[in-house]
Symmetry: C2
Subunit: 217 residues, 2 copies
């Protein structure tokens, strides 16, 4: 089985956010799609270890902002590199509060307010099925795709990014793997276990992405 | 509520296919995403009226081929414009048979074989949750996104397409709406009911897309 085929599946990039007992929480997500139209419903998949998943299970609603191609990479870094358990991710970004939910407006093309009506347990992840109860457009900038983020944004930002040198192919035998979602580098030379020998359920320590989202660099 | 925000959600384009009692059936789909990685699972949403949906419910498995940017528009026209009830969509395209499933190889970057383990009824559509049991890469061409298909392929093909003139904005008061998925034009001047007054559960007569996938032209 050639699992790299899974990398050819196209996604957008989104900020998913909710409010848990007065605390604003959120993360970056990509597995999101519209399911029905007459009754406007959507599906969102989130890892169970993700704090935002835990919060949505309690709040039963979330906001989803669509990241644009012109986004400041700091937005993805902030929402994808950290856990809302530890930091207030919203403190440096413009956001509104709609129906008690924090909605990121900066760097995004629009948002939806979603009320969860079903949660499907799929093992490591939950699929949240939700009604879209409101939607607002902020601008008409082209939405960011996962592919664009990987190919273009990385290129634009790499000069100032700490990973820039690390992205070059090493002349040594040790291998490096980059998380396509958050940019985290797994360097075999610095780890006790080579990437290839990590268990299948291993996850990116920064954003929680699974092994299939890592690419050798 | 500004429903156009839903158009900013990014998708790929896929041929979903199965075999029903010896008959090869398939269609174009876009609502597809990976759900989990350690146990490789995916989710696919298909309209209940879609013949391929009915067939997958019986066969409990499907193949999914990823349409590439270099696809022949005839592929999308063939699989998106007709029903497998009426025609053999596979007759003019190269395909393999893997585990009894017809797998479109022409114009696609790779395929997955998927075994359904759960079906979630969401009203007009079903979400098929499936294990990926095999995957094969055919080439490394860039996968087609829904946005690319709409913006670029339509441009490339419109000169020879019957819809080319119809795509121009009419000088009259009557409005036209194009299905972003299959290209079908709904022309208010030729219909008894203006598009805006069609019920929310109305569907594209060609590909089954819902009203939200139509854009005024």
């Amino acid at each position: 089985m050639d699992k790299t085929v899974l990398h050819d599946v196209s996604y957008g990039l989104y900020i998913v956010s909710t409010n848990l007992s007065g605390k604003n929480v959120g993360c970056v997500a990509n597995s999101f799609c519209q399911i029905t139209s007459s009754d406007l419903t959507v599906a969102l998949s989130l890892n169970k270890n993700n704090f935002t998943n835990i919060a949505i299970k309690k709040s039963k609603k979330f906001a989803l902002s669509i990241i644009s191609e012109e986004t400041n990479p700091e937005l993805i870094k902030t929402f994808g590199f950290q856990s809302s358990r530890d930091v207030d991710k919203f403190q440096n970004f413009e956001f509104d509060t709609i129906e008690d939910l924090p909605v990121v407006k900066e760097n995004t093309t629009g948002c939806m307010i979603c009320e969860v009506f079903n949660i499907v347990d799929t093992g490591t992840h939950d699929i949240f099925l939700a009604h879209v109860t409101d939607a607002e457009r902020f601008n008409s900038i082209t939405p960011m795709t996962y592919s664009y983020y990987h190919k273009v944004v990385k290129g634009k930002t790499s000069k100032n990014a700490p990973t820039y040198v690390e992205e070059e192919v090493s002349a040594t035998d040790s291998k490096k793997y980059r998380c396509l979602l958050c940019g985290y580098i797994y360097d075999d030379a610095k780890e006790s276990i080579p990437f290839a020998e990590l268990p299948d359920d291993w996850q990116c320590p920064i954003c929680g992405a699974t092994k299939s989202f890592f690419k050798e660099i």
